[in-house]
Structure formats: structure tokens, C-alpha cells
């Protein structure tokens, strides 16, 4: 699946997007963030305060307990500040 990062999540991870294949026991958005946080210093920093990070699966806002099965594109970003 493809991951996208925006705003300070992108800055901390150090990339705009990447393709990943998490292990089968990573089932939800929250579990995916936890798994990502263990992938290295920059990920640990980006996902250190996971409660404030929002996610979208295939361009729809989702909650942390949403299953990631079947997702093509998952995005992580801070709360939106448009308008």
C-alpha cells in the first residue's frame, strides 16, 4: 500500500510518500502508526504524539480504529488548517 505524508508529518518523516508492506498483524490505522513509529528515528519523531495525527484511507477521513485491509492509499497529516 501507498503511504502519503503531509505538513509536519511529512517534514519529520522526510518524504512525501512511500510504498510499504506491513506485517499481517497490523490491522488498524492506530496499529499502522505504532508499527511506523518503530521504523527509525524520523518515524518515531513523526509519530511520537499519535493522538493528534489524522488519517485518510483512499481519500476519506477515518478514525484510528479503522481497518486498513484493502486500502490502496493511506495518508497521515496534522489537523487541517485550510480556509
Amino acid at each position: 500500500m501507498r503511504l502519503l505524508y503531509f505538513a509536519w508529518v511529512r517534514e519529520r518523516v522526510g518524504k512525501t510518500d512511500e510504498d510499504i508492506s506491513p506485517p499481517a498483524d497490523v490491522r488498524t490505522v492506530a496499529e499502522l502508526m505504532e508499527w511506523l513509529a518503530g521504523r527509525g528515528e524520523e518515524y518515531a519523531y513523526a509519530f511520537e504524539n499519535r493522538k493528534v495525527i489524522r488519517a485518510a484511507i483512499d481519500r476519506n477521513h477515518v478514525r484510528p480504529d479503522t481497518a486498513i485491509a484493502g486500502a490502496r492509499e493511506i495518508a497521515f497529516f496534522p489537523p487541517m488548517t485550510g480556509g
Binding site: 503531509f6 505538513a7 509536519w8 485518510a56 481519500r59 496534522p78 487541517m80 488548517t81 485550510g82 480556509g83
Partner: protein, 152 residues
Amino acid sequence: MNATIRLQREDFDAAAESAKLSRGRTDIGALVTFTGICRDNESGHGVAAMTLEHYPGMAEEEITRHVKDAQARWPLMGVTVIHRYGRMTPGDNIVLVVTASAHREAAFEAANYLMDFLKTKAPFWKLEERPDGKNWVDAKSADDEAAQRWRT
């Protein structure tokens, strides 16, 4: 229903967009135009410029969903939403919402509703250039509360 949704780097002409919705029609009684503008001051500190980052694809889809919601809630004859991205300096236009209806309440409420959702749900992020460096703008709880009032 006439709906225009655009994300663009370039400036927009609020007057021309608003005129486009009403020109040649005699059934519109109320036209509301909201323009959001880049300010030189945010909560007491100076802002030299601001860069708007967005999630291409999702931003259009999310705005389209809320425009459809607005059409379902109010009898609208036209809606235009234009949101810019990229770097802006104080005085530059950021966002435009135009709503047209037979009656003023529908036009006012739909424009207000769309702005509340652009602030809290549309995937845009503001990076401010302040005297003390660059800073990602924090989401405001007041904006979340404003969006909450439509959840009935």
C-alpha cells in the same frame, strides 16, 4: 445546480466568479460571496507569508462532498468554491465561496457551512513565516466548535 470547485495556485477574481453565478438569471434573490484573505497578523504575531499545502485529489473530493451536502440542506441555485495553494503574502486571496439562492438565509447559511468545513475537514495545511521562523499553524478548537453546530 451550478457548481464550480477549483483548487489552483493562481489568484482568483471574486467579482467575476460571483457575476458568473448570477448573470442572465432572474430567479436568484440572494448572492453571498465570502473571500478569505491572508493577514499580516495572527494572534498577535506578525506573518510575512504563508504557504498552503494540500492533498491533491482528496481536497477536491472532500470539497465536492460538502458542496453536495450544502445542496441537499438548502435550496441553492449555484455554488462556487475556489481554494488556492502555494505561497501567499498578506493581502493575497486564499479562498472563495459564493452561494446563490432565491432567499438570503439559504445563501448565508450555505456559505457559512462551507467555510466551517473548509476550515476543519478539507485537507489543507498552513505554514506561516513569522519573525521567529516557520511554523505550522495549529488547528483552532473554535473552528471545530463552529463545524459541530451543523451536526444535527
